[in-house]
Subunit: 193 residues, 2 copies
DNA sequence: CGCGACGTTGATTTGCCTCAACGATTGTGG
DNA sequence: CCACAATCGTTGAGGCAAATCAACGTCGCG
C-alpha cells in the first residue's frame, strides 16, 4: 500500500517512530478515485480524514442557484475533510470530489481517536498542521474582504504556482469568488500589459 | 489574579487537573487594557496568546488606503493572537487592539512550549480549540464568496447576537467587508420591511 | 460522431464604492 | 464646565467593479 508518502509527510513535523508509523499504517485505507468521483456528499456525515497521495481533490459548497463555491483544493501531501461534520458527526453541507484521478489514504474517526489516545505525537502534529491551515485561511479572509478580484487572482497564482496550471479557470473562479466570465476579462486585461 | 475564568474555560475541553492548572496559572500574566490600547502593532512579532477575561478586542489589518479590515473579534472567554507571527516569530502585518476596556491573560511562547512539552493535554486542548476556530473560519470564507453583503450582515447578527450590540456599525462593516455607508443602506432597507 | 465542459466576447444591469455633506454623540483638553 | 475635535450614523449623487445573460468556437471524451 502507498503509505510511505504519508510517513514522509510527517517527517516535516515531529517524525513518527516505528511504532507510531506502524499504528498509522495499519489504520489507514488506500482508495483510488476517478475524476469527478465523490468522497463526500452534502447530507452525509464526513467519515474520513483524507490524505492525498496523488492527484487533486476539492472541498466545495453549492448555493441555491446551483453555483459551486470552492473552500479548498488538496493536491499531493495535503489533507482534505469537512472537519466540522467529521467531529460533530452531523450532516455536511459540503462536497469533496476528485478533480483529477487520485490516490488517497483515508483515516476513520475511531482510528484517529485511537491514535490521539495512545500517542501524544498525533495531537501535537495535527495541532501544528491545523494551525498552519488556520493561518492560511485567515490570509484568505483578509484578501477576500480587502482586495479586488484581480488582486485575488494574481495572489492565487503566486501562492499556488504548481497547482494553478492544473486547474481549469472555472475552478479558480469558484475559489476566489467571481464568475468565470469576469475571470476571463481579468486575464485578458492582464495579458494586454 | 483573575485566572479562574481561564481554568473554567478549559472545563469545556479536557479539564485541567491541579498540577496543570497550577502550571498554567503561574505562567499567565494579567493585563488591564484601556479602550484603543494596542496589544500588537504591525511590524512587531506577536509574542502572546491573549485570553480575554473581560471586554473586547479585535485583530485587524490596514490596507494601503488606510482602511481597517477586521479578522476577528474576541470577547470574554476567547483567544486572540496572530498565530502566524507568533509561531514563525516574524513581523506581523496585523494589529490587536482593545475596543472596550479589557482584562486579559497573556501567555508567552516559551511558557506555552513548556506546557506543550510537559502536559499532553495542552496539545490536545489547543488542537480542539483551533479545529473549532478553523471550522468557523471556513464558514466565513464560504459566506464571503457566496453571499451578498446583506446576507453576510444578517448572518453576522444571528451568529453573534451578544457581541453585535456592543459593536459600532463601522466595525461590523469592517468585519463583513463592506463600507459603513453601504451597511447603513442595508439597515435602512431591512427596517423598511 | 456528438455532447458537454471550457474559455471567451459583448451588452446590459446591479451591487457596492466613492465622495461630500450633515446632525448627533462622545470625549477631551483648556 | 465649556468648547472644540473626533467618532458615528446617515443620506444622496455619481461612478465603477462585477454579475447576468446570451451567444459562439474549441476541445476532449464517451
Amino acid at each position: 500500500m502507498l503509505v510511505q508518502p504519508l510517513l514522509t509527510y510527517f517527517d516535516s513535523y515531529l517524525a513518527l517512530n516505528e511504532e507510531e508509523s506502524a499504528q498509522l499504517s495499519s489504520r489507514v485505507v488506500e482508495r483510488r478515485l476517478k475524476r469527478r468521483q465523490l468522497v463526500l456528499q452534502q447530507g452525509d456525515v464526513c467519515r474520513h480524514y483524507t490524505f492525498v497521495v496523488a492527484g487533486c481533490l476539492k472541498l466545495y459548497g453549492v448555493d441555491k442557484k446551483g453555483t459551486e463555491h470552492i473552500l479548498q483544493f488538496a493536491a499531493e501531501s495535503d489533507w482534505i475533510s469537512d472537519i466540522g461534520s467529521f467531529h460533530a458527526e452531523q450532516a455536511s453541507q459540503l462536497y469533496i470530489e476528485a478533480i483529477e484521478p487520485a490516490v488517497v489514504l483515508q483515516l476513520e474517526k475511531p482510528d484517529l481517536i485511537y491514535l490521539y489516545r495512545h500517542y501524544a505525537k498525533f495531537d501535537r502534529n495535527f495541532r501544528v498542521i491545523i494551525e498552519n491551515k488556520f493561518v492560511a485561511l485567515q490570509q484568505r479572509v483578509l484578501q477576500n474582504i480587502s482586495s479586488t478580484a484581480e488582486e485575488r487572482y494574481h495572489s492565487f497564482l503566486s501562492q499556488y504556482p504548481d497547482l494553478a496550471p492544473r486547474l481549469p479557470n472555472t475552478q479558480i473562479a469558484a475559489y476566489i469568488g467571481i464568475t468565470p466570465e469576469f475571470l476571463s476579462k481579468i486575464r485578458k486585461d492582464s495579458a494586454a500589459r
